[in-house]
Symmetry: C2
């Protein structure tokens, strides 16, 4: 719960507005707010980079109403030919590491270079509170006002899988709306990093310098997923600590075998607050894109991710359909008790349940 | 393939013989070799610690013949009340690390302490050659001859899941045959370590001292699964290297958060060839058993493992049943191509396939 309060992405419900907004389209959308939205108009507006239309479209994706689901599917299909042209960056880090400040400074750096930046979030914990916490609007203030940026709070949903699907569909819409860089923030709860990792091109781990125990308590597998580790707040008195942390993390990265991308992850220092080291992060990402475009890993990874999500979605639904059957629910508990009492094996119990 | 040739567990097809062997039972078994084995007799012989009967029972488990499968299930069910009383130890390490020598010395150490030791193996690569390579019988010579030891080569099967099931069922039979310690060797191919890890109480990683780059090339996740790292061949000129390797591995272990078992994995040196440091390994395992019995983790882990295998088996079968449907096979390829051409999303494609 504490994590939700510190995540900037719950604060601003798509508040950024583009100047080239289509006034007629907005009027049109508003008049139909409580009725069925016109899909064609919405797609046209998204392609015209209308961020209000984009926001409404994402809301449609998030809806559970059957007619909305149908409309959302049509919408995504219409946007698909315009998607896939962005760079997708995942950013993770524990609360307090300065994710909001980093994303704001990094985002402003990109928009100053003429890039259009969308920020999405995956936060399974927010699904529990149904996104009810809105919080203050002071975080990412400059990026919120930036007409080349779009910030969308975490999708709500019943499961991480559901949230993941919505986020992944939102990426398609953002890409159709002409965003060049999509940043996906995760608050690091549960399996959220793995989920984000499986939908981005580049995965960045944001860290703080500590008192020499930087590596303690890092969630399993996070370091080996990272394409870059950026140590934030590396300024003033902490700079020396940050330099030591850099050495420790570099050694930790060294423990892992070479990545399939042929990319060697690096550790860099930055101070998002003082806008130091941000350009180096972007240069690193640009290098990564260049190398992985050259060796075709960039495209292969996206295809792998597509296949992963296809198989994953099917398996999750087969499993959920099976284990939600009332007869299975009842018998599963009985079989577990029988296993515990040495009356059956997990395999025999599985055969029994599958034959019900 | 090279791994098979160096794994001792392909060499000895249950050749160890117990002195308290039931002569009548053997005669009985031999006479019925080509017909149906009598399940009751087999169970009785296993409970009498007859290792020839145990070998025949494991062969039944490995059979794909429907009548054998039925008999095997009856057999396992009859043995279950006598199972679960052993300590299950997983041992992994790359070829050349001296696994056979270690298991032989370690096994002899245990039998000298009055323990009865069974050695099984998980080797997915052997399933490809259907266990046709038998090799020489010179490895683990002393353990093979030891009447308190039982060595069984890797089960063959079409999939790691299949091999895993057979190994796990073999554990039950070995336990019913009164073995106190079950050692499960893995040759470290594919996902075999994870599979072994999910069926043992204690997981031991065997390593060699190198030229300071010990940590390079270690398969992802292996170190964090280890309850102990034992550096073998720590003698003579290599001792100094081994001591440095010990420091490096201790630091690497330090990177991971505290285990749910409350056990802190340790790094120790040994020379299996010179029988040095072997007692320390067993003392460590005994400490582990004491700690995790006290905090109930030992029992909880076994229950977790049972639940894991139950769910895992069901999910694998649901998935394999779905993806082996001829219509799905055909449409899956088409949908993957549509995704690649930006004509659909993985989620829409999944919905489509599930509705076929």
């Amino acid at each position: 719960m504490a994590k939700e309060k510190t995540s900037a992405l719950h604060k601003n419900k798509g508040a950024s507005q583009s100047e080239d907004m289509n006034a007629r389209a907005i009027k049109n959308i508003r008049s139909k707010r409580n009725t069925q939205l016109n899909t064609k108009t919405l797609v046209a507006s998204i392609l015209k980079r209308d961020t209000v239309a984009l926001s409404r479209a994402i809301t449609l994706i998030e809806s559970k109403h059957p007619s909305h689901i149908k409309q959302a599917n049509t919408l995504i299909e219409a946007c698909l030919p315009y998607a896939n042209q962005s760079i997708r960056i995942g950013i993770t880090g524990v609360p307090g590491v300065g994710k909001s400040t980093f994303i704001e400074t990094f985002g402003k750096h990109l928009t100053s270079k003429g890039k259009r930046v969308a920020v999405l979030a995956i936060d399974p914990s927010s699904s529990l509170s149904k996104g009810s916490i809105l919080g203050d609007k002071t975080r990412m203030e400059a990026l919120v006002k930036d007409e080349h940026a779009f910030i969308r709070p975490s999708a709500s949903g019943d499961s991480l899988g559901g949230v993941a699907r919505k986020t992944r569909e939102s990426i398609i819409l953002c890409e159709a709306a002409g965003f060049d860089v999509i940043i996906i923030e995760t608050v690091g709860v549960g399996q959220s990093e793995t989920t984000v990792h499986s939908m981005v091109d580049f995965f960045l781990l944001l860290k703080l310098a500590g008192a020499g125990d930087e590596l303690q308590g890092i969630k399993r597998g996070i370091i080996e997923m990272a394409d870059a580790i950026v140590i934030n707040k590396a300024d003033g008195d902490i700079l020396k600590h940050a330099q030591l942390a850099k050495i420790a993390f570099s050694k930790a990265l060294h423990l892992y075998p070479k990545k399939a991308s042929q990319w060697t992850p690096k550790v860099t220092l930055c101070s998002a607050l003082h806008n130091e080291g941000i350009d180096a992060v972007w240069n690193q990402i640009s290098d990564y894109i260049a190398i992985t475009s050259e060796n075709n890993y960039f495209k292969e990874k996206r295809q792998e991710q597509n296949k992963f999500w296809l198989i994953q979605t099917i398996e999750a639904q087969l499993s959920s359909h099976f284990f939600n059957r009332p007869d299975i629910k009842k018998e599963l508990q009985k079989q577990l008790e029988r296993i515990e009492a040495n009356k059956t094996t997990p395999f025999a119990a599985a055969d029994y349940l599958l034959n019900l």
